[in-house]
Every structure is written in C-alpha cells, then in structure tokens.
C-alpha cells in the first residue's frame, strides 16, 4: 500500500520521539509501526542472516519477527530498549527455524572432538590499531560478514549472540540449549578463528587480500 506509510520524523530523531512513537502504536496507531522499525530493519535482517546464512530464510525470519513484535507491542516495557527487544525476538525466531531445519544440516561428527578448549592461532600478524572508522565502509562490513559466515554454525551462533548481540554467557547458553562451558569453549574458538581470518588483512594490507572464500584463506 504505497503512500500509507508516512515517515514524519527522521530515523535518528532520538529516543524521545521513539518513545512517543511506541506509545502511539501501543494505543492503537498500528499503521505507524513501520516507522518505528525502519531504523532497525538492517540490524534485524543481519541478526537473522548471521544465524541462518541464507537470504530467503533470513528475510522470512526477520519479517516474521517484526510482525510478532507488532502483535505483541503492548507487552513491550519502556525499561528495555526497543532495539534490544526487537533483536531478541528475531534471534529467537531465527534459532527456532534453525532448529527446525537441523535435521538436514548435521555437523560432521569429528567436530565434537575439536571441542577440547584448545586452539592454535595460525597467524601472528600484528594488529594494534582498531580501525573503527573503517566500519563506515561498506566493503569492510561485508568482509566482516563474510568472515563470520565462514565459521561453522556452532561457533557462529555463540559468537553472534555473545559478541554481536551482547547476550550474557548465561543468556547465550539458555538460547542455544547448551552448557555454559560449551558456550565458553566455542566462543574461544570463534574469536580466535575470526582473528586469524581478519588480522592479516586488517592489521597489514587493510583488507587488500580479501574477500574471503568459505573454508579457505587467500593468504
């Protein structure tokens, strides 16, 4: 329905206008919900994609989560940030779908043996500076996403929940139905693997040797 969704304020107009918008939607102006979620669309999609790694499934999960947020908007309490609440819904939705698919995406049995809590870095490239401003560049963000997508599911999920979505170790363990010890073991590997993937590019040639190929490194 083009024309029905009107954006009256810019997306970054601040928390107060967001609070106001939430109140309006909660009190019945449901057609303004899109305005409320618009600033978070990409983040919601990215969270779903990081877990499901497939465009079509990620879109479906992201949209389903946004619809659920609309259906349950009255349950939203102002103590939480709206973006956090929305992210939790999409993460749950994506994990639920992943569990449903799990039957046909079994990890190799050998994986279990790797989980002994040790990991040897493959590379000792120096990477002291944090190029945070580089995040403004689209190709940098794409390379971060590709590096993350190249991790095996069990490592990727733990990393996404803990280090991207800032869940606590306990919340991550609960969301995935695994032990706290498993979360920590997988987290260690995920972090070190990502460092191995990113340090030579970011620390030295600054992504000159990217992009990544899944399962192999170009250096």
């Amino acid at each position: 329905m083009p024309g029905k969704w009107t954006v009256t304020k810019p997306a970054d107009a601040g928390d107060r206008s967001e609070e106001e918008l939430i109140r309006r939607v909660q009190s019945g102006e449901r057609e303004r919900f899109y305005e409320l979620v618009r600033p978070y669309e990409r983040r919601v999609y990215a969270a779903a994609f990081a877990i499901l790694r497939n465009e079509a499934d990620a879109e479906d999960a992201a949209q389903e989560a946004i619809l659920k947020a609309l259906q349950h908007i009255k349950q939203f309490r102002a103590e939480a940030r709206f973006s956090t609440w929305l992210t939790q819904i999409v993460v749950n939705e994506a994990l639920m779908r992943r569990r449903k698919q799990h039957g046909n995406v079994m990890e190799p049995i050998g994986e279990r043996q790797e989980e002994d809590g040790s990991y040897t870095p493959r590379d000792f490239a120096d990477w002291r500076e944090i190029p945070s401003e580089s995040l403004e560049r689209k190709e940098v963000r794409q390379n971060l996403a590709k590096a993350l997508a190249s991790l095996k599911q069990q490592y990727r999920e733990v990393f996404v929940l803990r280090d991207v979505q800032h869940f606590s170790i306990e919340e991550t363990a609960e969301a995935l139905g695994i032990s706290r010890a498993s979360v920590k073991t997988r987290l260690l590997r995920a972090r070190l693997m990502l460092r191995d993937l990113l340090a030579p590019g970011l620390g030295g040639g600054f992504f000159a040797r990217l992009p990544f190929e899944k399962g192999s490194k170009p250096w």
């Binding site: 899109y34 999609y45 809590g117 120096d126 991207v164 260690l188 460092r195």
Partner: protein, 208 residues
C-alpha cells in the same frame, strides 16, 4: 605462576571476559610483556570484539524488495487487526467462497499444496509451461542455471514446469524470475502474446 603460549591461547577468551583468577591474570600479563606473538593474538582478538560489537558492523544491504514485502505484510497485519462493521457479512461471503473453492479444489485432479512458506507469494505471470528448477532443501523455484539455486552436493537440480512447482508450494526466486518476467514483458510486446511462452520453453535457457 608461569604460563606458556598454549596456556594463554586457552585462557585468552576468559581473560577478555574478565573471568580468570587474579593469579592467572598476573601470569598472563607478564607473559604478554615478553611474548609479542601472544600480545598480537590478544590485540587482534580484542579488535575482533570491538569491531563486531559495534552496531554499525552488521548493517549490510537488505535483499531487493525487502521493504516492499515487509510493508505489505505489515499492512495485512494492521488490516486484519481492525474489525469493521461489515465484518460478519464479509465472513459469510468468505465462508461461501471457501466452500465453493474447496469444492472446486476437491474436483481438481491435482490439488494445489499450500505454499512451503506461509508468507510467500506464488508468483504472478510466470507462464505455467516454463521449465524451472527447484531448491533441493528450500522453498524457491528458479530459471534453470540461476546462481541462487541451492542444490545439495552430489545432487542434480530437480526440473519441472512452473505450474508443477507452484502446485508443490514453491515460490519464485526474486532474482532470476523477476528478471525473466521483466525480459519476457519486452518479448511479449515484440513477439506477441503466446509466442513468448513457446520461445522460452523451447530454448530452455532464457539467456541469463
């Protein structure tokens, strides 16, 4: 306490979480001073957390048409939540339509399966006779040779007509089939209606 590099790699994640004992922390810090390899691993791992923890890191492009599809679904949801005075009437009409519809369906030789994804659209204007291929574990059908066709390793893509794919509940790929439909619109005006269908089916590969 003296720690080796292997110790450090094992504990580095907990170290960053602030979850190691004070003795271990002191030992690791002493080690970092002397071992530039482990210092590099520490710096790099910390950078990984800083970059991925930044809200901007995970903001990448949405698939084409994401916004439109979301708005449509939200509009449906909003409309569904607003009961109108004519609601009862509409329900009666809908029930009637459903009855007639199910009767027609029951009569049909091969009933149409519900879409594999409840929110998908079956695709409008895809010629029923078009040869398509379907994802081996997904929900989409594609023009043969589409880059976005997902096939399990050691399997060949399953081919069928678009009509069969729609019946089986598959949804058109937003990339190849949109392109196909856009192109075929041009074909239709050039070659005349009806002819276009034959051309695509006989050539099999609609020149992607």
């Amino acid at each position: 306490m003296v720690v080796t590099c292997e110790h450090v790699w094992r504990e580095i994640s907990d170290y960053l979480e602030g979850e190691v004992s004070p003795e271990m922390r002191a030992a690791m810090e002493a080690h970092f001073k002397d071992c530039k390899h482990c210092q590099a691993v520490l710096d790099g791992t910390r950078n990984v957390l800083t970059l991925y923890g930044d809200d901007r890191a995970m903001e990448f492009e949405l698939p084409a048409g994401f916004d439109q599809r979301l708005k449509r679904r939200l509009a449906q949801e909003v409309a569904a939540g607003k009961p109108r005075s004519g609601m009862v009437w509409m329900l009666a009409v809908a029930a009637g339509a459903l009855f007639v519809g199910s009767y027609a369906l029951a009569r049909a030789a091969s009933p149409v399966e519900p879409l594999l994804s409840e929110h998908a659209q079956p695709g409008v204007g895809v010629p029923g006779g078009l040869l398509v291929q379907v994802d081996s574990d997904g929900k989409l059908y594609h023009v043969p040779g589409c880059d976005y066709l997902h096939v399990k390793p050691h399997e060949n893509p399953r081919s069928m007509t678009a009509e069969e794919a729609i019946r089986a509940g598959y949804t058109p790929c937003v990339r190849c089939l949109r392109r196909y439909l856009l192109q075929s619109k041009i074909w239709r005006t050039q070659a005349g209606e009806g002819l276009e269908n034959q051309i695509w089916v006989s050539s099999g590969q609609p020149g992607l």
